[in-house]
């Protein structure tokens, strides 16, 4: 049966919508100690002393950095071709706090309410220091990546036109519906630590725990229950998770931390927070000769394990979808007194797409060329294509994506006494996949097939798409395939769910494992017509595994937006949006479109309302939904989606990634539409009423 390419409804939804799920906070171990953190109220301060209250009713322990001498800091991942400081985030602050919300001490009590009461009694003597809130002027560099490829200076010297533009994307809070959380339990007799954690996968958590706690991985069991969203923010292990595990080891108690919304806002790592000076050299025909970019990333007070990764992605994608043969790109990650940043849906790709696409529109206006025409003159047309910066785009049809976006969005440009209307486009290319992923397939006695995946769902729909892939390969119905995820003792060691990699990598591993199982089944059948159940009876315990490896694949797309700005108030309305994505083979168009719409909503959120802003003292202004808005269905414009399916040659499915396109393509398209409506005046998002109203005057 042909299942791939069909809009199969998410089969996990019945369970989720009926509440038959188990999220982290649904796990309620009897007698558990509940954790509340004492968090820094200052953006930057020296800690002179921490005084812990004497015995309090219902309080088991108060843990400070002094109790964690044998617990390491979080590890830091490097970036290819760049330098990254090795100093990781401490589990609890020692002598300094570098952002408001940083954990300083942890209280373990009978209930979360008692723990919060006791946390107020922990006396921390802070000596406030001046906060650094601006990346450009920060004097501490935590990461740096710089590459010069081709004759950049020569190209700029001979260029007919040099266009300069400055852009910035504000910090965003990921705001998953389910906040973070962890539970740890220690079995002293067996020396086994079990950790339940709301995370994007089990194995990165396992590796982080082993490293920070200095324990062998064999002595740690990580279980990821149902997860209510992450958007990147539950990929790297959290300091709080480490504290929960360390506290379970130290006290012998089962320890539970279920984060509340306020903590999630102030202490979960954020996305974006990058600004750029971009220069583009063009010849007299508008051909792009070279690009220079200087970028500053506002990384926050510490490097989380993956903080530097998005900066590298941004830098490497700075030639976008254009045939630019010379580039000089630098991105420096600066320390500021804010919560760290890290991968958030798009994770460096929206920054690059926004910087490049806005610069292209600036160039079009300065050169007097239609922005679509300028794009068409410079699009990469022959793929695979190795960029000046060194990545190889495996497949794509950028011109076709752009043509489709133009047709679907129906461009408009006009103004009257009440409103101005404009249209803009934003293209993108994004890295997806890469590294490896794993799967195991097992023939069950009843003839069904159990597939264990190293990839792990938290809202994407793996249970449906992976079952489609496996069932089609086996020639059985989707109900004959069962999926298991998220338990480090059960599933094969995988890489995880991030970077739009699940179908291309995890799906390919599933197809290969199932294919290998099918070969074994066929061998048992030996040409006879046998059902899988009969084969299972004849040869019990058949299983096969696969580890699929590949280079990066590159999804791409073109987005178009039509916007209207009200003259009297500055209110922005996105009238319609066209989203054209090329993610290679689409396994499930229904779920793929869901990914596009969701990503678009987050991209629009960045454009319209979202901004994790700090006041001049470094206090977060976004500690609740009063200070941080999310779009609702009422703000969503009509979104028309379309897929271009240029198959990737790098995996058996021809798949790339669809998880992030909406968040990558939307900001550039909307920003260019806003600039078009404003007659070329450029401002950065969020496009608030007051900014637009002033720009119109």
């Amino acid at each position: 049966m042909n299942l791939v390419g069909r809009p199969v409804p998410r089969r996990e939804d019945e369970r989720i919508l009926r509440g038959r799920t188990r999220y982290l906070d649904d796990i309620d171990p009897p007698g558990a100690a509940h954790v509340a953190f004492v968090r820094s109220p200052f953006a930057h301060a020296r800690i002179a002393s921490v005084a812990v209250p004497d015995d309090l009713d219902g309080v088991f322990a108060v843990i400070t950095a002094a109790d964690l001498e044998r617990v390491g800091d979080l590890p830091v991942q490097g970036i290819e071709g760049g330098e990254v400081s090795a100093e990781g985030h401490p589990v609890l602050a020692r002598d300094e706090v570098r952002y408001a919300g940083q954990p300083v001490a942890a209280v373990l009590a009978e209930s979360r309410a008692l723990a919060e009461d006791a946390a107020e009694l922990v006396e921390v003597d802070y000596e406030p220091l001046d906060p650094v809130l601006d990346a450009r002027s920060s004097e501490v560099t935590m990461s740096r990546w710089h590459k010069v490829a081709g004759d950049v200076d020569g190209a700029f010297a001979s260029a007919a036109h040099v266009v300069r533009a400055t852009h910035a994307l504000a910090r965003l809070a990921p705001v998953p519906m389910e906040p973070r959380g962890a539970i740890a339990s220690y079995d002293q007799a067996e020396d086994q630590l079990t950790v339940w954690v709301s995370a994007q996968d089990s194995h990165r958590q396992l590796a982080g725990l082993a490293k920070v706690l200095d324990r062998p991985e064999e002595s740690i069991h990580v279980i990821v229950p149902d997860v209510g969203g992450a958007f990147g923010s539950k990929g790297a292990p959290a300091p709080e998770t480490m504290l929960v595990a360390a506290a379970a080891l130290a006290t012998g108690r089962t320890v539970k931390w279920a984060e509340d919304r306020e903590e999630n806002f102030v202490a979960s790592y954020q996305g974006r927070g990058v600004e750029a000076d971009v220069e583009l050299a063009l010849d007299e025909d508008g051909r792009m000769l070279a690009l220079r970019a200087r970028m500053w990333a506002d990384l926050g007070g510490y490097l989380m394990p993956t903080t530097a990764i998005p900066t590298h992605t941004t830098a490497m994608l700075m030639c976008g979808v254009y045939d630019i043969r010379a580039a000089d790109v630098e991105i420096v990650g600066r320390r500021t007194n804010k919560v760290p940043t890290g991968p958030y849906r798009g994770a460096g790709r929206p920054e690059a797409a926004y910087f490049v696409e806005c610069t292209v529109d600036v160039a079009a206006r300065e050169l007097g060329i239609d922005p679509l025409e300028l794009r068409r003159r410079n699009l990469i047309r022959d793929l695979p294509y190795e960029t000046a910066l060194g990545w190889t785009y495996d497949s794509g049809d950028y011109a076709r994506c752009l043509d489709a976006a133009v047709e679907l969005v129906r461009p408009e440009r006009h103004s009257d006494d009440e409103r101005v209307v404009g249209t803009g486009f934003g293209m993108y290319v994004e890295r997806a996949g890469g590294q490896f992923e794993t799967a195991e397939a097992e023939l069950l006695p009843d003839g069904r097939v159990l597939v264990r995946s190293g990839s792990s769902p938290h809202g994407q729909g793996h249970d449906t798409t992976f079952a489609q892939l496996a069932a089609e390969r086996l020639g059985v119905g989707i109900d004959d395939v069962e999926l298991r995820f998220g338990d480090s003792r059960e599933v094969p060691r995988g890489v995880g769910t991030f970077a739009s990699r699940s179908v291309a990598m995890g799906g390919s591993a599933v197809v290969q494992a199932v294919g290998a199982l099918k070969e074994k089944c066929d061998a048992v059948a030996g040409g006879r017509s046998m059902s899988l159940r009969e084969i299972a009876e004849a040869e019990p315990g058949l299983r096969a595994s696969a580890r699929f490896e590949s280079d990066l694949v590159f999804s791409s797309g073109a987005y178009g937006a039509v916007v209207e700005i009200e003259r009297a108030t500055g209110r922005l309305r996105v009238l319609r949006l066209a989203a054209v994505d090329d993610a290679g083979t689409i396994v499930n168009p229904l779920l793929a479109e869901g990914q596009v719409i969701g990503g678009t909503a987050q991209g629009l959120g960045q454009c319209l309302v979202e901004q994790a802003a700090y006041d001049e003292e470094g206090n977060p202004t976004f500690a609740s939904f009063v200070g941080y808005s999310l779009l609702t269905a009422a703000e969503m414009p009509p979104v028309v989606t379309a897929f271009v399916e240029s198959a990737s040659p790098l995996n058996p499915l021809g798949a790339k990634g669809i998880g992030e396109g909406g968040s990558i393509g939307t900001p550039g398209a909307v920003a260019n539409a806003v600039a078009d409506a404003l007659g070329g005046v450029r401002i950065d998002p969020p496009f608030t009423e007051d900014k637009l109203w002033r720009a119109l005057r």
Binding site: D117, T569, G570, S629, A634, E635, W693
Partner: protein
């Protein structure tokens, strides 16, 4: 986000509730503002007096004369009331902007008034309708005009031992039109600003909210409308004392829309 400890009282009548009111006691109505404030530990009362069981304050009485709304009437009840939408349509227009349906199912009319958030919709609408608020304490009763009730953000003339028991909205003259306009970042979010207007041939009442520390009547604009000025000119007067240029323009525009709707 767990509240600090407090004593909890659940009176079943106004008589039982009144002696419990004190400086350090907070009144819990629908809980849509107080509960988050408690959970964020921004409010730290010694006691919470929960009016959830005081059924006698849950009524809408429009049988004759003025509209009488018991303070514990849910916003959703106001929203769905036929007599209200016939006789005082401005209330229905305003209440639909209060949060989301879930919030209006719990939130009360009295809670919205007594909480006195400067961005709240109902206080401004009640000012435009010339409402009066009835307060009771163990020592007696008094009535305060809506336009004199609000003193500052989350601050009113209500004394700690007083309970807001009823909102009385006078009958509107024949031919009264009403208009309501607001802007918020997203649907259901706190208003950035808004305007409410109740206009009849003999009188205009216009109130702005989110524009200053309290919802307030725009008297210069009211006079201008009464004297026959165009809505746009009157609206400009409503916002003329706002310092920030954009907020001034925004409030003027929202006032214009409310006035035009009311005069339609």
């Amino acid at each position: 986000m767990k509240p600090p400890p407090f004593a909890y009282h659940a009176p079943q009548s106004v008589e039982e509730a009144l002696p419990l009111l004190a400086e350090e006691a907070s009144v819990l109505a629908g809980g849509q503002s107080l509960v988050p404030l408690l959970n964020l530990r921004l409010a730290r009362p010694e006691a919470v007096v929960d009016l959830g069981g005081v059924a006698e304050l849950d009524y809408i009485d429009a049988r004759e004369g003025p509209l009488r709304i018991g303070a514990m009437t849910r916003q959703a009840t106001l929203e769905r009331s036929e007599p209200v939408s016939r006789g005082w349509p401005l209330l229905r227009k305003a209440v639909r902007h209060v949060g989301h349906p879930q919030i209006r199912s719990r939130g009360t009319v009295g809670g919205s008034v007594a909480h006195a958030d400067p961005a709240a919709e109902l206080p401004a609408a009640l000012i435009a309708l010339g409402a009066r608020f009835h307060l009771r304490s163990a020592g007696g009763e008094r009535t305060v005009d809506a336009s004199e009730f609000f003193l500052g953000p989350l601050y009113t003339v209500r004394e700690p031992d007083e309970l807001l028991v009823e909102i009385e909205v006078p009958e509107q003259p024949d031919g009264t039109g009403s208009g309501f306009a607001e802007h918020a970042r997203t649907h259901g979010d706190f208003a950035t600003a808004g305007a409410a207007a109740a206009i009849c041939p003999s009188r205009a009442r216009i109130a702005l909210f989110g524009a200053g520390p309290v919802p307030a009547r725009a008297e210069a604009a009211e006079r201008a409308v009464a004297e026959g000025a165009a809505p746009r000119e009157a609206a400009a007067l409503a916002a003329e004392e706002i310092d920030d240029e954009h907020r001034r323009a925004l409030c003027a525009e929202l006032a214009r829309r409310a006035i035009e709707e009311a005069m339609r």
